[in-house]
């Protein structure tokens, strides 16, 4: 790992002040934000990240709170650990999808240190990106090696020119819950839908996966109080049961109405460079009866437009199968 200076701000404003140095052209990578370090430190050890300054957020108080207000809205500080989220009784009772997503991440050791903010802002796991020798699009190169290479784990939706998949488990679950993120920078705070936080490679900077400005920090996630009667689940399919990223994940929230589905939100993980909202599938589910033909139709609608690469066509039936299983499990609840 390259030597660096560790900055230990005690307030958000101090931290943002240090980040302002990034606004200088090409300086983004020189200053990086350290929370739990579960991704960044490995990137540094692998020389994928070589910051000169690390801004340690751990000294800033109050950023790790998880609170549910009287109306039922949930607020999660960016520094809340994944295990704190997993173990929170209110989250478990009211937002099972979030509890399940948190529990599915990494290992107990990683969850006890990794943070919610870090999970949302983590970098791709694509093995070309993670290879120091591969100067890929994501690292300022001119080629996405996965496109014509060994792309078993890459995107089937939303890909191009880069075909990474977003690795976060919390992201699809939070998008399914219609969560918002609070970003704070020199110009103050802004709040936007989490769904709009993530960027496709064809939209934002190819070097990043979200809209965070150089001097901005993700400080909080807000989950609005769900309409009454919500059922939700996060179904993560891992090649290896323990300690693995998703081949495909399904984040599903739905509101039953008698034997029917009043409305549903369906988001896929592991298939696209962003958490993949399946609006077509949501439409296919709305006002339908809970039965197998509807679950299958939802899967078909969700995978509309999928464009598999050479080695990942299996993700299409896998995602459909997993959507079926997710709907089936909520129908039993």
């Amino acid at each position: 790992m390259k030597a660096f200076t560790l900055a230990n701000p005690s307030t958000l404003d101090q931290a943002i002040g240090i980040l302002a140095a990034r606004r200088e052209r090409g300086a983004h990578g020189r200053v990086q934000v350290l929370a739990g370090g579960q991704d960044l430190l490995t990137e540094m050890k692998e020389h994928l990240a070589e910051p000169e300054v690390l801004v340690n957020l751990k000294g800033i108080g109050g950023l790790d709170r998880i609170e549910i207000d009287a109306a039922g809205a949930l607020s999660i500080g960016a520094l809340a650990t994944l295990s704190a989220l997993e173990e929170n009784e209110g989250v478990r009772a009211r937002f099972p999808i979030l509890h399940e997503a948190a529990r599915s991440i990494g290992s107990p050791q990683i969850r006890s240190v990794g943070t919610v903010g870090g999970n949302l802002c983590q970098r791709p796991r694509c093995w070309y990106y993670r290879s120091e020798h591969a100067k890929c699009l994501k690292k300022g190169g001119t080629e996405c090696f996965s496109y014509g290479g060994l792309n078993k784990y890459n995107a089937i939706l939303g890909g191009g020119p880069s075909y990474i998949v977003h690795p976060s488990d919390l992201a699809p679950a939070l998008v399914a819950l219609d969560a918002q993120v609070v970003l704070r920078g020199s110009a103050g705070e802004r709040t936007l839908a989490l769904e709009r936080f993530f960027t496709l490679p064809s939209e934002g900077s190819i070097l990043r996966e979200n809209v965070l400005a150089d001097d901005e920090l993700l400080v909080r996630v807000i989950v609005p109080a769900p309409a009454p009667g919500m059922r939700s689940t996060y179904l993560k399919f891992k090649e290896r049961g323990s300690f693995d990223f998703a081949l495909v994940a399904v984040a599903l929230a739905l509101w039953p109405d008698g034997g029917k589905i009043a409305r549903a939100r369906l988001v896929l993980g592991g298939v696209a460079p962003v958490p993949w909202r399946c609006a077509g599938a949501e439409t296919a589910l709305a006002a339908k009866t809970m039965d197998e033909s509807v679950w299958k139709a939802a899967g078909e609608a969700a995978l509309q437009g999928a464009e598999p690469l050479g080695h990942n066509a299996y993700k299409v039936p896998l995602a459909k199968g997993l959507i079926f299983r997710a709907l089936q499990s909520l129908s039993r609840a």
Partner: protein, 722 residues
């Protein structure tokens, strides 16, 4: 069983005291029981010192630079590394034409591991890529670059008569032709390869080495250091796994010796995981085109096989000549190696057998279903001797085959889910031989020490060395100290081929027996009892005719002079045997909507002659099942053949089974085997993945012929992809 020194039984003799043989199993007080590892607490608490843990005054740390592409013309500029403060020595290990991905190019020694890493990165490497072949497709392409001077294919080895075998195929009632492939698997020793070389000039050196052959190290280290083998001590107090990959000094050990010699300081050099995956060996890949035929009444009548071994720059492994284990009436096999610009394959737990087993067990299974016969019955019909039948029946009982509905075809799915059962068998040698020298010492204060330079590869050597001596002297195991892992102690054979126990246990027994005899002779005078009437049991030495005439162990030892007594034992034939069998069954659940395979249960039965430590044996059997499950479902070395990059030289992307993948595993010891001690640990890793693949077919009709058996392949076999 040969008795080296037996005497005629006389009236009144309960049993010949001096007979050198294992007592009847029912009479054993320590052996054939569950024994906790004597070094367990040290390992659990972190007190056990592995090579990686060795820290010496003035020690420097070394790291290795490896070649990131499979073949290149390499020029190194070491100067930038030498300029880094804290870097003490930089040496080139290879220059000019490199031959494989991961080949060590240079080594740097520095005052800290971090500085050594900086040093490695500072070396200027000019790589001029040369055409390479890293997989079968590249190596066998028409315009393939030559990996070796003589080309990319070895000479063929054939066995059997091709014309006869093909004729038998033609007349078979049913035949199956299929291609089975297995990936390159890494050993994944938790402790990577490496050494700490303690040489500060002069004529003595100590090499701490993570090795499975204490005595394979001194000679090579001496050569590098310019010493005599007798001037080099090797220490292997504990080692974190070898599985066949850790003999001799290795490139890494040789580099550390060179650095130590240059610096006159102790050098610590352990491979990183990425180094390990590129330059510490692997299990060779395999491609088997098998064409088998069966008669409608369940006989294997024909097999024609075309086998390729993918062992990188060398041959790779495939066992024996002819069909693996099963009897086939007419068979013909052609075996050859395909060479690639990748790391040389090394021995890995039952070299070649897990590959051969998967091909043969899959084919046998396919033929059984093709003729509509219960695959368990089909197996029993085509295996020689009664042992496999009894073991297959035992694991079938344990896994619930009798109650299982899918006997001759995959069953109906329930909610897209299928449950299936599969079987496979194994064989191994595991015999012993000469080469171990064991010393047993009894001190006046009651202390007992058994010493031999052997290493514990993980099978529990230290524990059974103590246990055999304790058994012989009638003591609890805690009363005996086992000293191993030091080349100054008695010679011992390296741990390869599951031969350690069958070689070492007889020598330990011999030493203990001699020590007991000698002790009995000394006590005979003091106790005024003929030596042959003295019984050693329950911590006492007593006259068998008048048990009241007895001494406690402590009292008896007090009768020894200040020198105590000692005896040396060597290998004695008759105390160990050779040739083991095993059978395993797996039960799986397959979700046909997603391709998920969940192993629900595995059962294994294994023979091993006299079980020295039942707990350790079950643990070895379970370890074999775990390793086979991981090989079958997850593990695979991945190299991008275009760029030449190793894509999963880490433990994130190279997936090894963790705790939550491990189902209930039942390990059964075949107690009907009455032979003396035999090594078996390799046999336990052979059949598990084949049994799992067969269970997947039995569950849902997905025949996956290419390992690892990942969800994408299950979905493809079910016709759901594309």
């Amino acid at each position: 069983m040969a008795a080296r020194k037996s005497r005629r039984k006389e009236a009144g003799d309960v049993e010949a005291v001096s007979e050198l043989a294992w007592p009847p199993r029912g009479d054993l007080a320590v052996l054939n029981h569950d024994l906790r590892r004597v070094d367990g607490p040290a390992k659990i608490s972190g007190r056990a010192r592995y090579t990686h843990d060795v820290r010496l005054p003035g020690m420097v740390y070394a790291r290795v630079l490896t070649c990131p592409i499979p073949r290149a013309e390499v020029t190194l500029d070491l100067e930038p590394a030498r300029k880094i403060p804290g870097v003490e020595a930089v040496i080139a290990l290879a220059e000019g034409g490199t031959k494989w991905l991961g080949q060590p190019l240079a080594a740097v020694a520095a005052s800290t591991p971090e500085i050594a890493e900086d040093g490695i990165r500072a070396i200027r490497v000019k790589l001029e890529p040369k055409p390479w072949a890293v997989d079968r497709a590249q190596a066998t392409a028409e315009d393939a670059p030559k990996v070796l001077k003589d080309g990319n294919l070895s000479k063929e080895n054939t066995s059997g008569d091709e014309t006869e075998a093909r004729a038998a195929l033609t007349s078979a009632d049913q035949s199956v032709e299929a291609t089975y492939t297995l990936p390159v698997q890494h050993h994944v020793c938790l402790e990577t390869h490496g050494v700490v070389v303690d040489y500060r000039g002069g004529d003595e050196a100590t090499v701490y080495c993570s090795t499975q052959g204490t005595f394979t190290v001194p000679e090579s280290a001496a050569r590098e250091l310019g010493l005599k083998a007798s001037q080099v001590t090797t220490i292997v107090e504990h080692m974190g796994g070898g599985f066949g990959s850790k003999f001799d000094l290795g490139t890494e050990g040789a580099a550390a010796c060179r650095l130590a010699k240059a610096l006159g300081k102790p050098v610590h050099l352990m491979f990183s995981r990425a180094d390990e995956f590129g330059a510490a060996g692997n299990r060779s890949g395999s491609r088997q085109v098998l064409h088998g035929g069966a008669s409608q009444d369940g006989r294997l009548v024909a097999l024609v096989g075309d086998i390729e071994k993918l062992g990188g720059l060398q041959g790779g492994s495939f066992p024996g000549r002819g069909p693996y284990i099963y009897s086939v009436e007419k068979s013909f096999l052609r075996v050859r190696s395909v060479y690639t610009n990748t790391d040389v394959a090394r021995a890995m737990r039952a070299p070649g057998h897990p590959q051969a087993s998967f091909g043969m067990e899959s084919l046998v299974d396919e033929l059984a279903y093709a003729i509509g016969m219960d695959p368990l019955e089909f197996r029993k019909k085509n295996l020689k001797g009664p042992v496999y039948a009894r073991q297959l029946d035992a694991v079938a009982r344990e896994i619930g085959w009798a109650q299982h509905p899918n006997k001759v075809a995959p069953g109906a799915l329930k909610d897209g889910m299928g449950v299936g059962i599969g079987f496979a068998v194994s064989t191994w040698g595991g015999g012993g031989g000469e080469g171990c020298e064991v010393d047993v010492r009894i001190d006046r204060d009651g202390g007992v020490t058994a010493s031999v330079g052997t290493q514990d590869l993980g099978t529990g050597t230290r524990t059974y060395v103590a246990a055999i001596v304790a058994e012989e002297l009638g003591l609890p195991i805690e009363s005996v100290t086992a000293r191993i892992g030091d080349s100054r102690l008695g010679r011992a054979t390296p741990s390869g081929g599951s031969t350690t126990t069958a070689s070492l246990a007889p020598a330990v027994k011999d030493a203990a027996y001699k020590a007991r005899t000698l002790f009995a002779e000394r006590l005979s005078r003091a106790m005024d009892v003929p030596a042959e009437r003295l019984r050693f049991s329950s911590g006492r030495i007593a006259d068998e005719r008048d048990p009241k005439r007895a001494l406690s162990w402590k009292q008896a030892c007090g009768e020894l002079g200040g020198d105590g007594l000692s005896a040396r034992g060597t290998f004695q034939p008759g105390l160990s045997s050779n040739g083991v069998h095993g059978a395993q069954a797996a039960k799986v659940r397959v979700d046909t909507l997603t391709g998920r395979v969940q192993v629900l249960k595995m059962a294994a039965m294994q023979d091993c002659g006299l079980p020295l430590n039942r707990m350790a044996i079950r643990s070895q059997i379970q370890g074999g099942m775990v390793q086979a499950l991981s090989y079958g479902l997850l593990e695979e070395r991945v190299i991008d053949s275009v760029s030449g990059w190793a894509l999963n030289a880490n433990l994130e992307d190279y997936k090894v089974a963790h705790a939550s993948e491990i189902p209930e595993m039942v390990a059964l010891i075949d107690d009907e085997d009455t032979r003396p001690v035999i090594g078996f640990s390799e046999a336990a890793v052979i059949p598990g993945h084949g049994a799992i693949a067969n269970a997947v077919y039995n569950a849902c009709g997905a025949r996956v012929r290419d390992l690892p058996l990942t969800p994408d392949k299950v979905l493809a076999a079910l016709g759901r992809v594309g």
